[in-house]
Subunit: 342 residues, 2 copies
DNA sequence: TTGTAGGCGTTATCAA
DNA sequence: TTGATAACGCCTACAA
């Protein structure tokens, strides 16, 4: 490994001068600069980032600690985070906690021990309240879920409004007896449930069902099976995340039912497959790009100014209408075309 | 930040003794060990990994440089890599090159500058031959694609055999006029194409079409459109990766055709949606878990023994049969049940 | 404009 | 068994 010392020797200057050239300081003579540049090129020298971050007590790395790397939502956000970070001169390392609080603690500690500049984290679920020192003093931005402690920066979807929009869409398309399935982890499912209820109430309706279940495919299957086995099954099912949507879909299929004529289906989060299946699934898409960029923005602001007040950013989602919620009244008034995307 | 010095002071020993206790060396008195442990606990001391890796010229981190973080195949492999690495006392940071050779070079350099123990990489496509120093001297294992340089460890699917198996399955189910769409990046598509051709030849058949296209959804759409516009469209389309499968599916849908009666469809890589759509898509699934574990195994072996001979691991895939390739002869001989998974 | 020197936190060597 | 010390590579007062 070539070090700054060898460059200095080759250029016939001190290590301090090499360092200054590398840092683009102005107080270096033209001639010294040229010699150093030549030596750097010839030796293929690259500064050792480990040493640099030991010295600076801080690195240019940002940690992204996600609760499920295989959730398309998080990989999409990860892309955005990386792009925004890269533009700001930072790089991103991704860690996966698998919704496991222990792994979360481990990775947060790791990030601290690695001197990262800051961390963006989607918290794993916790039974017990978070320890007071949860963030370990790191600059921290919480995404996707309500921060487990007060006073933290965060970027979340306006879940209640989003769920309300989705519910209103179902109502507008003629569905009345609507069931809601929401993830029981973190604040997200609960908030969406609230928005669902409120939208129904605003139209003088009550939920046909309204359950919190583990946000897993299997739970979605089970809950849907229960709903469909009722004497009067719901006309539509609204799912609080894409895993629940998967499960609901599987059960509906398994029972040989048709979407949306037997039961309509709507969910959260845009994934590849929701447009590929027939009919496509109406979803409320999260603005993954905006979420990632906002998170970086908040994080860098906090790094620059650790004492500043905490900001909570709430972003709006986008309703993407597909065939799974086609107008129900078509049975009555004939073949109206399905609503357009928007 | 509490350092080893403060622990030493509090325990009334030298930093060397603290270090020894932390490293579980045996030559420490019982009493000194107890005092150090107490001090560590009291101060909440955690060793600074940056300093440790500066000193050791090596870290316990492994880099995973993937060409597309949003490809489910890579997130699945990432999961396996992480699990295996974790068991071996390493942690994993993930970087995304977006199939961009410049980003690839950048991240490989970053990994080196960060003193990672080694790197697992799925190479981005390259027009020009790779520079001789591509790996930067890092312990390196290539996955998914043929290594761009000789003498590197690698873990890849047995692509030719896999494509052959998929092709043979189509033939066995009564399809004769089969078109193949393969990704034009790296060795993978080409190998699958070879296996496809060979299997056809073995049955006295010739490909109905046999094209290399960019491995993107759009390219899959275009190529499929061309195929279906022919006077005699193929009876079946075999796609070399899941993005091409997506594209083919979209075009088939857009043209109002039915799978498999109008055209059968088969692809590579198991993803969530291929079992959710109707009919499900028959795929050749890659053993993502085995791939990740094999990669870690090779990497750690190379870290331990840098001079050892390069190993190329080829793994077999698994055929998952679904409705998209249902027996074609059913038109002639009636309702034979579809083949089972396996 | 340049160089010297000290220190970031850790571990290995050597002597005691 | 223990401790003092040097070194990993870099940056930055401070001095020249």
């Amino acid at each position: 490994m070539t070090s700054i010392k060898q460059v200095a020797a080759k250029a016939g200057v001190s290590t301090a001068t090499v360092s200054r050239v590398l840092a683009h300081k102005t107080n270096v003579s033209r001639e010294a600069r040229a010699r150093v540049d030549a030596a750097v090129a010839e030796l293929g020298y690259r500064p050792n980032l480990v040493a640099r971050s030991l010295r600076a007590q801080r690195s240019n790395t940002i940690g992204l600690v996600v609760s499920d790397i295989r959730n398309p939502f998080f990989t999409a956000v990860g892309r955005a985070v990386e792009d925004a970070a890269y533009e700001a001169g930072y790089r991103v390392v991704i860690c996966n906690t698998d919704e496991n609080p222990e792994k979360e603690a481990l990775y947060l500690a790791l990030m601290r021990d690695e001197n990262v500049a800051g961390v963006i984290v989607s918290p794993a679920p916790h039974d017990a309240p978070r320890p007071h020192n949860w963030g370990l003093g790191l600059p921290l931005v919480v995404i996707d879920r309500e921060p487990p402690l007060a006073g933290l920066d965060s970027v979340v979807l306006d879940n209640a409004a989003a769920a309300g929009e989705l519910t209103a869409h179902l109502i507008a398309h003629g569905y009345r007896r609507i069931a809601g399935l929401f993830g029981a982890i973190g604040s997200t499912g609960e908030e969406r449930r609230q928005g669902f209820q409120q939208a129904l109430r605003a139209h003088g309706l009550a939920p046909e069902a309204d359950v919190l279940v583990p946000p897993r495919r299997e739970a979605g299957e089970d809950a849907t099976r229960e709903l469909l086995s009722r004497e009067r099954p719901p006309e539509a099912i609204l799912c609080g995340n894409s895993l629940l949507t998967e499960g609901a879909l599987l059960t509906i299929r398994a029972q040989g039912l048709h979407i949306p004529t037997d039961v309509a289906l709507a969910g959260f989060d845009e994934t590849i497959w929701q447009g590929l299946i027939e009919p496509g699934i109406t979803v409320l898409a999260q603005p993954t790009d905006a979420i990632g960029r906002a998170a970086i923005e908040l994080l860098l602001a906090r790094v620059a100014q650790p004492g500043r007040a905490a900001h909570q950013v709430r972003l709006a989602g986008t309703l993407i209408v597909r065939g799974s919620t086609a107008v129900r009244s078509s049975r009555l008034v004939g073949d109206r075309p399905p609503a357009s995307v928007g």
